[in-house]
C-alpha cells in the first residue's frame, strides 16, 4: 500500500472500503519546482496532499507576495475560503521543489460524504485538524513577537528554515526581510 494511504488513515482510521472509495477520486501529479498547485483566481476544487516535495501558500498584497503557510512533505493544503465558498482563490500554491501531489476532488468528497458516513467522519476529522492548526497559528501571530515565532519555527520546524528563502519566511512571520535579518544576527 502506498505511503499516503497510511497518512490518510492517521487522520481517521478508514476501512479498506473507505480507502478505495476515496482512491477513486484521487489523482497523482508530478510537478516541477516553480509549478503551481493552485493558480490565482482558480477555484480550489481539491484538497492537495504533498506526498513528496515542499510547497508554499502565498498571495499578493499591495503588489507584494505574502507567504501565508508552508506545506512540508506528507501534509495537506488547500485554500480554505475558495474551497468551501467555491470562489476564485486569492491564494496561490506553488511548489518550491519538484513535488508529487495527490489531488482529492471536492466533488468526489462531497458525493461520498452524502452517502458514506465513514467518509463524512474522515472529512470532519480532516477539517477539525485544519481548524486546530489555524487556531494555534492565530494565537501565535497575535500574541508572540516575531522573534519568538522565529525561535519556535527554529525548534519545531527547522526544515522550513532550511528550505524556504528568507524573504518568504519574513512575510510568513509578518515582518520585513530587514527585520528578520536583524533578528537572525542576534540569535
Amino acid at each position: 500500500m502506498e505511503a499516503y494511504f497510511e497518512r490518510l488513515r492517521s487522520v481517521y482510521p478508514l476501512s479498506a472500503e473507505g480507502l478505495d472509495l476515496l482512491k477513486s477520486y484521487m489523482a497523482k501529479k508530478h510537478l516541477s519546482k516553480g509549478d503551481f498547485i493552485l493558480r490565482k483566481d482558480e477555484t480550489c476544487r481539491h484538497i492537495y496532499f504533498v506526498n513528496k516535495g515542499f510547497a508554499r501558500i502565498f498571495y499578493f498584497k499591495n503588489g507584494k507576495e505574502i507567504t501565508e503557510w508552508f506545506t512540508p512533505e506528507k501534509n495537506f493544503c488547500f485554500s480554505i475560503t475558495s474551497y468551501f465558498e467555491e470562489k476564485p482563490s486569492h491564494l496561490i500554491i506553488e511548489c518550491l521543489e519538484d513535488s508529487e501531489v495527490i489531488y482529492l476532488s471536492k466533488e468526489g468528497l462531497d458525493t461520498l460524504c452524502k452517502t458514506h458516513i465513514e467518509i463524512s467522519n474522515f472529512f470532519s476529522k480532516l477539517i477539525s485538524g485544519a481548524l486546530i492548526l489555524s487556531q494555534k497559528r492565530m494565537d501565535s501571530i497575535q500574541f508572540e513577537t516575531a522573534r519568538q515565532r522565529y525561535e519556535k519555527l527554529l525548534k519545531t520546524q527547522p526544515y522550513i528554515l532550511q528550505k524556504a528563502p528568507m524573504q518568504y519566511l519574513a512575510s510568513f512571520l509578518g515582518i520585513t526581510p530587514e527585520t528578520l535579518s536583524r533578528i537572525r544576527t542576534q540569535i
Copy 2:
C-alpha cells in the same frame, strides 16, 4: 419551533428527525452577567450557542486578560483546542450580559455522528464555518493595521463596539488600550 432550531438549520438543512436527535443532547441555561460559560482549566465538552445575550472569549497572558473573540447573540462558540483535543481549556468564556445559552454536548454529537450521516454532515458544516471564520480573522490580524481592523469592526459589527469595554476591544485588536484610545480620537 424555537428560533435557535432555525439557526441550526441555517448551518445545515436538518430534517425534523435530525433536529430531534440533536435536541435530545441540548440543554438550555440562563446565565447572568459575569457568569462563565466555560471556566479556565475546564475541558470544553459542549458547543455553546448564545441564543440571547453576549459573551467574550479570553485568556490570561503574562497576568493580563487577552480577549480572543466575542460571541454576539445567535452565534456559536467553543474552545477549539480544548474541545477537539479534550484537554483543559486555557480559554475562558464569560457572559458580558445576562444570557440564554444552549449547550450541545460533544458526547452526544460524537455518538450521533457515528450513526447518523445527516448529523455528521451538519457537524462538518459547523466546523468548516468556524474554519472559514478563523482563516479570515488570521488574514485580518496578520496583514491589516490595528486602525484598519478597528474601522472594519466599526462597519461590520458595530454592536460589538457598543457592548464591549475598550480594554477588551484593545486586546482583541492586539494593541494596548492607550493605542486604541488614540486611534478612536483620530477617526
